[in-house]
Symmetry: C2
Subunit: 338 residues, 2 copies
């Protein structure tokens, strides 16, 4: 479901790349994509629309559509006998639906009371790959995280807006140095109320309780659910940056017993799903993580302001590990468990 979207397209690539054992693949999309042909495994699949009975005969339905559509259709897929892997936020906090990062809590998929398993938010997903091994060793007490999130986090419209403004503003770069004096420049933007090219927008998601955004609260609650630990305290600031693909995070971590850089490095080197970048300056950029599976972790440092705490930098492809890849990995976990 959602086969023609940014994540849906990536999903088809990842299924193919990993040789996921597909007997029959069916692609569901919105009515405007009805009949569109999508390349898959050397052939093509033709897009269908959602309709009563459309899930009959399917073992697995992977969903990447808006929350409201998932709320309606994911339970129908489950009722039709499929297991649903849902990328939307619709069921993430449902106590009867596990919220799974494949490398972190795959065993949670053994219990599926609603036949639905949820995939975390892309930012939480990338972060948790790095936090889980540290949490297991020393118990996370407090996380202060500031994000640098890519435009593709807002889907194809986000990509398009960055691309359009990138081109448009190129000729205006002298004015960008004094942008506040050019109100016409500041009014550009459709997906975002301010220009995303050449700028940093310190608000991702919609504003909710206490002035924190939906993205920021997801980092709080999803982290606790995935790590099975409601005592973890999280403080998040989610910021949009003019990057096409790749969510990055600057993270300060406090633990229940002291952690240091040497131990953190050792734990991260042994952890699945990530690459610790300690060559050169040990500072993986967003572009270096865009297009590959592992989350990149770098700049591991003892915190000079608090003994036993550490700082680190995490970056990962929000469309792959942050979405499509984790969905396919969850399906692989299901196959292994059965």
């Amino acid at each position: 479901m959602g086969a023609t979207g940014l994540v849906g397209t990536e999903m088809l690539s990842v299924l193919e790349e990993r040789g996921f054992p597909v007997e029959e693949l069916r692609a569901f999309a919105s009515p405007r994509s009805l009949g569109r042909r999508l390349p898959f495994a050397g052939g093509e699949v033709v897009c269908e629309v959602l309709a009563d009975g459309c899930f009959d005969g399917l073992d697995l339905v992977i969903v990447d559509v808006d929350e409201s559509i998932s709320e309606e259709w994911a339970p129908k897929a489950a009722a039709a006998g499929a297991i649903v892997i849902d990328k939307s936020s619709a069921f993430r906090m449902d106590p009867d639906v596990p919220l799974v990062v494949a490398e972190v809590n795959p065993d949670d998929m053994r219990s599926l009371p609603r036949n639905i398993a949820s995939c975390p938010n892309c930012t939480t997903m990338v972060l948790l790959v790095a936090l889980a091994p540290l949490h297991r060793a020393a118990g996370l007490d407090r996380v202060v995280v500031s994000t640098y999130q890519a435009a593709s986090g807002a889907g194809q419209p986000g990509i398009d807006e960055l691309e359009n403004l990138w081109t448009k503003l190129n000729g205006e770069s002298r004015r960008l140095r004094r942008a506040a004096l050019h109100p016409d420049l500041l009014a550009l933007g459709d997906v975002w109320p301010k220009p995303i090219a050449g700028n940093v927008i310190p608000l991702a998601g919609s504003v909710k309780e206490q002035g924190y955004t939906s993205e920021e609260w997801k980092l709080v609650y999803e982290t606790r659910k995935i790590l099975h630990d409601d005592a973890i305290r999280v403080s998040a600031t989610c910021v949009r940056v003019p990057v096409f693909v790749g969510h990055s995070m600057s993270v300060n971590l406090e633990f229940r017993r002291p952690m240091d850089k040497a131990e953190a490095v050792e734990l991260l080197q042994a952890a699945p799903g990530l690459t610790l970048v300690d060559h050169g300056d040990g500072a993986p950029t967003a572009l270096e993580g865009a297009g590959v599976d592992p989350v990149l972790v770098g700049r591991v440092r003892d915190d000079p302001s608090l003994p036993g705490a550490i700082n680190l930098w995490v970056t990962g492809d929000n469309l792959r590990k942050g979405a499509a890849l984790n969905g396919v990995q969850m399906a692989e976990v299901l196959l292994q468990q059965r």
Copy 2:
């Protein structure tokens, strides 16, 4: 000194805009700019080079050159009878040189044992305008800051590199989505080892003690010196973003007695040199602060992970308040004090 640089040019504009009482203005630059004419106050000044006796007859010398040149020439200017306002890092930590943010600690300029006063690093400067009023009220205990620093922090070469790559990568935006698979893209960059356009580089400055960069340590030590309080603990991660002008920061603050959002808002509304942005979404972008004097502060929130702590967002023009404007303001303070 350094009249033709990015900050030097801004300095001439700011002196003119603010009607600073200049009887005679002389511009010093490197030999390759000898004889170059710079517009100033309706006329022109002709660039001179540094030479013995060049400072004779000057009351005030404002310096924006590399540390090593300042180390050599600033004391010569002081010996020639001028007061020196130095933008470089050469004398910032000298106990006989005050380190001044004009709105924060102007009284420190009353004692100038070396006839030199230093201007803080551009990042520290922007941050301190926002931190000072909060510190005075409740005593800063710990600061965790992640930065989003503009390319112009690396001077004209930084601007040029962002501009060049911006143009070059425009046609490659499809490849930027999978940049890790295109090593040629990742090798672009001269000022920075990785592309600055369409990317986030989690390392600003050069790596020093404990894996922290020169920029990060400046935030630690300059904050303490400006606020006269060595007990303030600071943990910083400095990151470069593809913005032309405007350094932004996501800041988590702990105090010696509890602070809350309401009090912070009240203190910030009354503070000099900043504008609290609480209209609309209260999320000032980097572009909105580029070209204007005040530092913009927004997203003031109680920290859900720690009662009494707060999160906020700060952005400011690194060439104006971060450099040229503060230098001129320091000169204005001198005039008032005499």
